[in-house]
């Protein structure tokens, strides 16, 4: 059954128009991934208004292709410029930049793109197999199960996100609070508007994404001073083919990275820890661990495989449960609602052409993507040669356009500026931004699930423990929530030194 559906999906994804859309998406995505201050999430957010008039399947293909492109683009800056465009490309710089400095940039880039492709492909195959099963299970979920999953989503930010767990909690609460501003659709009452008409509409998360990630990031990078000392690319067909001949040697690293990536990836914030974990494992099992950090190809393969496997896996909870695993997935989820689709398990039965078109487009998008980036490296690297006095205002203008286009409203552009300053301050003080955005998106859903659960149980929180599925999920969520308290205690018990986790924001 699954195979037939996938075939149907390919018939949708492999039309000239949709392939064209994928090429555009990947090109824009790679540019966005290369540019400082524009990541996948706000690239998708800015382009979202342009998709309102497109058929939903083409629209989602454009946005997902943009996401793949941004994932590929991150590797280019990490290797050639030692600038990790995204948090999960940090581990790629460890060996990628030394390789580029030694004149092996072409080899490193080829390895990075190929690993990304392998990791992504592995996750897509698993999504193809597991998404329908997960959706079928999710169809039996009631409000308590959905609320438990939301709890799990947010507690994994607290438990696995690294950084200060209290600050993660603040970000989550702030997102939910901003989400609650405006009309309460259940009772029809106005909340926290204080008689101001503009507040009645509430805060749109797309505007928040553009402000927090776009403007905030550009403020941070001008503060740090934009200087690009790039290494030569050294990319040509011969290097690509030679590298491909070496790569099968790292088969075990590929498999390990893919599994780590998928496993970490369908939980929020998973891509960054996955890339670090995969790098650490590769180093531990290597015959030459001393070469890591000085330009070992395996040190590029390991984090890239895991980061992309995780980036793709983040789509799984979005299409099956309607709960996004990353800010980028959250923006896409917002898109689904705008295009008139109801995200969640019902999508598989009601809109099979959309879901399977999307899944099939993941295959085609990644195949087109890896070929395009391999061929286009010199072009994409040249983007960073644009003077920053042009790039900076350009990014601000693009962000303003994106923010305005969401509701054709000037107040959103002001919100964007305010969110930009908040994003800058929060980033500097280590408040994670991803949970805030996710909470803002999921606010209404989470509140309704909680309300309905409490109505079912006449106000008792026991409803989350008496139903078996909800109970298991709630207990896992509580475990993650308590992890920051348990981990130091557990380490002390085993006589290990305390460690600080890797900063995560996937």
């Amino acid at each position: 059954m699954g195979f037939e559906n996938l075939l149907l999906g390919f018939q949708i994804a492999v039309t000239p128009f949709n392939l064209f859309v994928a090429v555009i998406g990947i090109t824009l995505g790679t540019i966005i991934g290369v540019l400082p201050g524009l990541g996948g999430a706000n690239g998708v957010a800015i382009l979202l208004p342009l998709t309102f008039t497109m058929p939903p399947t083409s629209a989602i293909i454009l946005l997902t292709s943009l996401y793949w492109g941004a994932l590929f683009g991150g590797a280019i800056t990490s290797i050639l410029f030692n600038i990790p465009g995204e948090p999960w490309s940090v581990a790629t710089t460890f060996d990628g930049y030394p390789l580029a400095r030694q004149g092996q940039g072409g080899q490193a880039l080829t390895a990075a793109f190929t690993s990304s492709f392998v990791g992504a492909f592995f996750s897509i195959v698993l999504i193809t197999l597991f998404a329908p099963l997960l959706a079928e299970i999710a169809l039996r979920f009631g409000p308590p199960e959905f609320f438990a999953i939301q709890l799990l989503t947010f507690s994994s930010f607290v438990g696995l996100g690294g950084g200060n767990p209290l600050k993660s909690v603040v970000s989550i609460l702030l997102g939910f609070i901003l989400g609650a501003v405006g009309l309460d659709i259940v009772t029809g009452q106005l909340r926290m508007t204080f008689g101001i008409t503009d507040l009645m509409k509430g805060f749109d998360f797309i505007v928040a994404v553009i402000g927090l990630f776009g403007i905030g990031e550009i403020l941070l990078s001008v503060e740090e001073g934009l200087t690009f000392g790039g290494a030569a690319t050294g990319m040509n067909l011969r290097v690509v083919l030679q590298t491909w001949k070496i790569l099968p040697r790292y088969a075990r690293t590929f498999v390990r990275g893919s599994f780590i990536g998928f496993w970490m990836g369908f939980k929020p914030g998973g891509a960054t820890p996955a890339s670090f974990m995969s790098y650490a494992f590769a180093k531990r099992f290597s015959r030459h661990p001393e070469r890591f950090g000085k330009g070992e190809l395996e040190g590029v393969v390991a984090p890239e495989t895991a980061a992309h496997a995780a980036g793709v896996a983040a789509m799984l909870p979005m299409i099956t449960l309607g709960i996004p695993g990353s800010p980028t997935a959250a923006v896409m989820l917002g898109g689904l609602i705008i295009w008139g689709l109801q995200p969640g398990p019902l999508l598989f039965t009601e809109k099979p052409d959309f879901v399977w078109g999307l899944i099939a487009s993941m295959y085609t998008g990644n195949i087109i993507g890896v070929l395009m980036v391999l061929a286009g490296v010199p072009f994409f690297a040249a983007i960073l040669k644009i003077p920053f006095a042009i790039l900076t205002p350009l990014i601000v203008v693009v962000c303003a356009i994106g923010a305005y286009a969401v509701h054709s409203s000037m107040i959103d552009v002001w919100y964007m500026l305010i969110f930009g300053v908040v994003g800058y301050v929060f980033k500097k003080l280590d408040y994670p931004l991803a949970p805030l955005v996710l909470a803002l998106v999921l606010g209404d859903l989470a509140e309704n699930a909680l309300r309905q659960s409490l109505i079912m149980s006449q106000g008792s929180l026991g409803v989350f423990f008496t139903r078996p599925i909800a109970c298991v999920i709630t207990l896992v969520a509580l475990f993650f929530l308590l992890m920051p308290i348990l981990t130091p205690w557990w380490r002390r018990l085993r006589g290990l030194p305390p460690t600080s986790g890797a900063p995560a924001e996937a």
Partner: protein, 165 residues
């Protein structure tokens, strides 16, 4: 100092928490006739926010002053982006006090052109010809993409009206 910044942020968060809690109490944070009232969910969010923020403030207080949050010379480029951007947004929508127009509403394309030109010349010291090409070229391309190709309207001013849009 980072500690000061942390404490100021915490103070703002406490204020937000207090506002949320008081507004939720106004709406009713308990159990209504048909389930939790409007203020139920925000009330607990606000209470949690107050609690966690107090914990963060105590943490920050104990940790010591730390490195400066931002130095004067590093703040300069940040403000160089922020003030002109604010001015661009002001120019886009215009400003009027009562019936008196303080700033005309130029629309997004014209303000973007001014903003690009200003920043490139002021911060980047680019040659006038480069400034002119980029500052006019980018808004024109954006106009074509948004207004004619994708039909997404942006705020427009007298220039676009004069051109017939």
């Amino acid at each position: 100092m980072t500690r000061t910044a942390d404490l100021i942020t915490a103070a703002v968060l406490l204020l937000i928490g207090a506002i949320v809690v008081s507004d939720s109490l106004r709406l009713g944070a308990g159990w209504g006739t048909d389930g939790p009232k409007s203020g139920f969910f925000p009330f607990w969010l606000g209470v949690l926010l107050l609690g966690v923020t107090i914990a963060i403030a105590i943490q920050a207080w104990r940790r010591g002053a730390g490195a400066p949050f931002v130095t004067r010379e590093r703040l300069r480029p940040v403000l160089q982006v922020l003030w002109p951007a604010t001015a661009m947004v002001l120019l886009t929508g215009g400003v009027s006090v009562g019936t008196v127009t303080v700033l005309p509403a130029l629309g997004l394309y014209v303000s973007a052109a001014i903003y690009l030109a200003f920043y490139m010349r002021w911060v980047g010291h680019h040659r006038w010809i480069t400034v002119l090409l980029v500052a006019v070229g980018i808004p024109v391309v954006t106009f074509l993409v948004f207004e004619t190709w994708f039909l997404v309207p942006m705020p427009k001013g007298p220039l676009e009206t004069w051109l017939g849009y």
